[in-house]
Amino acid sequence: MSAKEIVVKDRRTPLKTARGLGSSQSGVGHWWTQRVTAAALVLLVVWFVLTVLCLLHADYATAHATVARPWNALLLIAFVLTMFWHAVLGLQVVIEDYVVTRWRQVVLLVAIKFLAVLGALACVLAVLRIALTP
């Protein structure tokens, strides 16, 4: 087999093919995580909306007791973490599509990650405080 034939067949090294990460260096990781978090959110959003509707006109004690219930606290934390994760992945694509200047793009991409982590931590801390306060 001549060298020319090999080049025509595949320009990638065997290692590159085995890793399967493509030109973006991250493969389908972003795409797949977006779908997995989306599937989880379908269930979590339905639960969240029903829970909020049950809390219409609830006073402080009822709302507090509802969030403090173990299953509710657990699902609420799961919802918040999944939601912020999904939001960062989605906002990332929007920023990459519309913000053309590279330094602005990088600043925004880092900023949404900082804000999402802060938001998620604030929510988790609040739920824990509610759940652990007698």
């Binding site: 402080y60 507090h64 969030v67 939601m83 604030a122 929510c123 509610i130």
Partner: protein
């Protein structure tokens, strides 16, 4: 605009309007809106954690006309993103790609989100307001 002098692909204004354009654009717009709207969730949880006076203050804001209007918009954005998200997941699984199906499912997302929003708010208003 781009810094480079490359030729640009045709943009929105040259295409004939189609419902699939609308569902795609709305999915992005509602996604960004919901990300901003997560502030409501953060606010609600922090106020609930901070005690009774704080929670009552949050309820007052949520139940005010402007609060209800924002919640109404937020709920529609959520239901639209939910319906259309399920539609996208089904398409990612490989179904519904024929153009007639694609158009029909676009309308289903839009109409489904409006129906769900109306049902939820009918329930809220029958129960006497949002807070």
């Amino acid at each position: 605009m781009a810094d480079t002098q490359r030729p640009l692909s045709p943009h929105l204004q040259v295409y004939k309007w189609q419902v699939q354009m609308l569902t795609s654009i709305l999915h992005r717009v509602t996604g960004v809106a919901l990300a901003v709207g997560s502030l409501v969730l953060i606010g609600g949880l922090l106020h609930l954690a901070a005690g009774e006076d704080s929670f009552n203050h949050f309820r007052e804001i949520a139940g005010s006309p402007i609060g209800m209007l924002l919640l109404f918009g937020w709920s529609w954005a959520l239901f639209y993103h939910l319906w259309n998200g399920v539609r996208h997941l089904l398409q990612d699984a490989g179904s519904g790609y024929a153009i007639p199906q694609f158009i029909r499912s676009s309308w289903l997302s839009i109409i489904g989100s409006i129906v769900l929003t109306v049902l939820v708010w009918a329930y809220v208003l029958m129960a006497g307001g949002a807070a």
